[in-house]
Amino acid sequence: MAASSTTATTAKTTATTAPTNGRTPNKGLRWLRRNIITLAGLGTLGYLILPNLVVMVFSFNKPNGRFNYQWQRFSTDAWTDPCGVADLCGSLGLSLQIAVWATVGATVLGTMIAFALARYRFRARAGVNTLIFLPMAMPEVVMAASLATLFLNMGIQFGFWTILIAHIMFCLSFVVTAVKARVMSMDPRLEQAAQDLYASPTQTFLRVTLPIAAPGIAAGALLSFALSFDDFIITNFNAGSTVTFPMFVWGSAQRGTPVQINVIGTAMFLVAVLCVVVGQLAGKRRKRS
């Protein structure tokens, strides 16, 4: 109490002297001071986007050697023939396939856990929470190496299934977190109201709980898809000779980077932005009508 009142008084004295300092007619400096946070934020944003711009620009490059690191001349060759590199589109298809199944698996299992945690009291709750939290607090390389050790010792063949198992494992926690937050913030009276209005427990779940939890489930699913599709470290340990898209890129960093990689990176970026923009516009229109 005493401490806070002291700071208040010191702040007050400085505040009264502030106008005399501020009156210096250096307009540019004042503008800079007022907007310094905005400028710094935009700078960071630039840092975040710069590599994407480079990827985009270099998708129109025609490199001389095997590596696409230096600008040579403009060409649309890679765009007209995106699958022109051996194995590239196959790895992309595999990655998409794994991402879809990993999303389905993690979303179903994770949503069930999230509902149990958010809606019921039971023993071993703390243990379950820890088990959910740990995979998120564990460096990927540790999970990757230990799971691969298990598969090795069990004599399980590395490939599609081991990758899928691993991806569901590390996506689960993220789904639980996303769905749990949504279900916890949901007013329990809504479900009671449904029961009060003659909805059986099954009907209540299908007609009220699920639709209201849907944004959380969708967020968890989207996150799972992105994490699975983009995962490298865990896949690197558990793929054997199977090549996903990130593994293809990793390999090409050693052997030579085809321009087609940039084409696919750019296309994914554009598709994602397009989806978000369309979604936002649709949401706005629905709100208006």
């Binding site: 994407n52 690191y69 299992l109 190496a145 932005v273």
Partner: protein
């Protein structure tokens, strides 16, 4: 709520409950059925492997003859003795990258939360969208950006900044690629969104009127930030630093793609021991040490920052 004492009203009955109802067992089992498949998955494919790995780390043998548990704890000492520089480097690089992420990410999160106005959604999309280009491709793009003959190196050279950084030991000669600077730069870039998003979430919850109230109570903008905004954003700071530091400490992609052999981190060692050298006990011991170190650091950090309810 004050409970007031009143004498027993007339209809008070002697405590003789006729029959006490209990929830049926079937209903009480519902949460366990919901938990079962997912938790089983985590136990079999997350927890059990960690135990398996612990046992692998004290095995000896060779690929041809097979490995056996011989309680060979010396693997740990050998691994630490040989790879302590990589351990220190991992913690150091990850620490610096986390600090940079906080430094760079805070203004951006603040910008989105309080200053972006109707541009908020656009900026948000720009933060998240890069995610959708595979991060390996984006990391490779840094090879172009930081290339020896590129504009960045040229600019730094003309300002003689590279001489300064070389003197400090974070770059070598007149290049940025294959130096600590490049690796830290890549790590910072890769995990920046993991810092910005939790920061934004906790900043967005702050009522802007609190800033006005602080201003009204004679706090200058800097004081308002130090005394009001930053303390209130602590949950985001803690979550963001954890989400940045943990993956950065175990990362081996940036060191592999942007660094040279002198920038190898512990992740690189584990990867090569496991996938190339096929020395499983050493790889297991190293990842066990890494896991223990990170869990210890995280626990201490969460305690210190007083946000245990984060989990």
């Amino acid at each position: 709520m004050t409970t007031t004492e009143t004498p027993a009203p007339p209809q008070e009955q002697t405590a003789a409950p006729l029959e006490v109802r209990k929830t049926p067992a079937r209903k009480r089992l519902v949460p366990y059925w919901l938990l079962l498949p997912g938790i089983l998955w985590l136990i079999v494919f997350f927890a059990a492997p960690l135990v398996y790995q612990a046992s692998t780390s004290i095995q000896t043998g060779s690929l041809e003859e097979g490995f056996k548990v011989t309680w060979h704890f010396a693997t740990y000492w050998d691994a630490l003795g040989e790879y302590w520089p990589q351990f220190l480097r991992s913690v150091g690089y990850a620490g610096i990258a986390t600090a940079l992420c906080l430094l760079l990410g805070y203004p951006l999160a603040y910008l989105i939360a309080f200053k972006a106005g109707r541009w908020r959604n656009v900026v948000m999309i720009l933060v998240i969208a890069p995610f959708f280009t595979s991060f390996l491709i984006r990391t490779l793009a840094w090879k172009t950006i930081l290339a020896d003959g590129g504009p960045v190196v040229a600019a730094l050279n003309s300002l003689h900044l590279l001489d300064v950084t070389s003197a400090l030991g974070i770059t070598e000669g007149h290049r940025v690629l294959a130096t600590p600077l490049a690796v830290v730069c890549g790590l910072t870039y890769n995990f920046l969104p993991f810092m910005v998003l939790p920061l934004y979430t906790s900043l967005e919850r702050i009522d802007p009127r609190l800033h006005e109230a602080a201003g009204d109570l004679y706090a200058r903008p800097a004081t308002t930030f130090r005394r009001v905004t930053f303390p209130l954003s602590m949950p985001g700071v803690v979550a963001g630093t954890l989400l940045t530091f943990i993956p950065a400490a175990g990362d081996y992609i940036n060191a592999e793609l942007l660094g040279s052999t002198d920038q190898k981190m512990i992740g690189n060692v584990i990867q090569s021991q496991f996938l190339r050298v096929l020395d499983y006990p050493t790889a297991a011991a190293l990842s066990f040490i890494l896991m223990a170190a990170i869990l210890a650091m995280v626990t201490i950090y969460i305690r210190k920052s007083g946000t245990e309810d984060l989990v």
